[in-house]
Amino acid sequence: MSIWERMSKVDRRIIYLLLSLVVIIPIVFRIPSTIAVSESAQMAYDAVDRLPAGTPIIFSTDFDPASMPELRPMMTAVLRHAFKKKLKVIMMGHWPTGIPLSTIILEEVAQEFKAEYGVDYINIGYRPGAGLVMIQMGREIRSVFDIDIQGNPLDSLPMMRQVHNYSDIGLIACFEAGAMGDIWVIYAWGRFGVNIIMGTTAVVTPDAYPYLAARQIEGLIGGMAGAAAYEKLVEHPDKAMIRMSSQAWAHILIIVFIIIGNIGYFMMRRAERIKKRGTV
């Protein structure tokens, strides 16, 4: 096997091994990395920052455990910002598997800020129906979420007494691992004109950019890089900022392998051409 052939056919197990190493080493040795704040993350931050204290903000958990490494840090950072600004947090979700996760995240951050349940934040959980739920919430939140996750009627919770529909909501912050963000834009923004910011997994981020360009959403926190940028903005370095170093080194490794593979491929093609010319 020629050197070019070896370059274009590196054993995948070697790639996995090297990838694991470049991910583990920065985590273990805490190698720092520079975090650049993207314009889209800054816009999301500004949208939350503009809200006056006491404004209700909806957090929609539309993800499952598979997306936790990306969406947990960004949801934590936005929640910290919301509690710091004394906003009233309403947690909900459209993915049944997301609610236990968001409950853990919410309780952790609420404890950090000594927020009181029912006064500073509530968790209304999950209801099936997605688009229908969003439309009903535009008329009366109680028509779909008559009780919270603990079984309390919404009217028994002080912070919900004046909150009935989207006109009482300052912002929707939705955290997306799928297409639920599109549905939020179609119904909540399209029909009711609610301001939305989106936190998305990196896979979903390219699909959300057109909404940002058209100003259908107020800001976009894309993947782990977006989460790290938001952590920097709220001046609370956490998981995303620590993990970005591994992310950067892994990207460098992948770029190197792409270059090696392509050099091998083009050199093999060249060698084949020369060989053909020689035989003719």
Binding site: L19, V23, P206, P210, A214, H251
Partner: protein, 238 residues
């Protein structure tokens, strides 16, 4: 033979690293963390080749996810919207009087929903068309107008919002050439062909950006798991 030798050497190295970490770190005393760690390693064993540990973890994950989702939907849809109003809160009885409308508002949708089960019978399978027609019809009515508004009109307005800047010019140029590539009513030859080729470049750049983001997403998942193994399980990172 060579592969087997490599496998044995690799396994020995991994076991030595693992024992070293167990001694140096502070392994978790929580049984659930150990189960999660073993399942994580079982899934990653697929990177070497397909095996029984991977298959077990995969099937377990699918089963648990489906089971959990079904129970949550059952509680939030059937119990809260059907069982409770009919048998517990009895929303159709107000001040001791029976009211037919609230009763039918629960019973009719439930009966239509139950027709979904007809698909499991041979002779009555056609009945499934009724709930499907209902769902498709209502969703189409509900979605068409706002979808056009959010995804077509607003996007077109945003694209045509011409500003005197290079990015604005590139955007309009990219949209037009990409649309030309998807115009199949005329053969892609001459000017049309050259324009469509430019469109292909824009599509490739979009795919490249999308691939870059996908890499970031997958690496994030790997980082998350490594963090779990090293921090939560082995306690190597403080």
């Amino acid at each position: 033979m060579k592969e087997r030798k490599g496998l044995i050497i690799g396994s020995v190295i991994l076991i030595i690293i693992f024992i070293g970490m167990l001694i140096k770190g502070e392994p978790s005393k929580n049984i659930m963390v150990w189960i999660a760690a073993i399942l994580t390693l079982s899934i990653y064993s697929f990177l070497y080749r397909d095996n029984i540990f991977y298959k077990f973890a995969e099937h377990l994950f699918v089963g648990v996810s489906v089971g959990y989702s079904v129970s949550v939907v059952y509680q939030n849809a059937f119990i809260r919207r059907v069982f409770d109003p009919l048998f517990i809160t009895r929303t159709y009885i107000v001040e001791g009087q029976f009211h037919i409308l609230p009763f039918l508002a629960v019973v009719i949708p439930t009966l239509i929903g139950l027709l979904m089960v007809s698909v499991f019978t041979k002779r009555q399978a056609w009945l499934i068309r009724i709930p499907i027609a209902f769902v498709v019809g209502s969703y189409a009515g509900m979605s068409i107008s706002p979808s056009f508004q959010a995804n077509i009109f607003e996007q077109t307005r945003s694209t045509l919002h011409i500003a005197l800047s290079i990015s604005s010019f590139i955007m309009i140029f990219g949209v037009i050439t990409t649309l030309v590539y998807f115009f199949f009513s005329k053969e892609h030859k001459g000017f049309l062909g050259r324009t469509a080729n430019v469109g292909i470049w824009f599509i490739m750049i979009a795919f490249g950006a999308s691939f870059g983001y996908t890499v970031m997403a997958r690496i994030s998942l790997l980082i998350g798991r490594m963090n779990f193994l090293l921090y939560d399980w082995l306690g190597v990172i403080k």
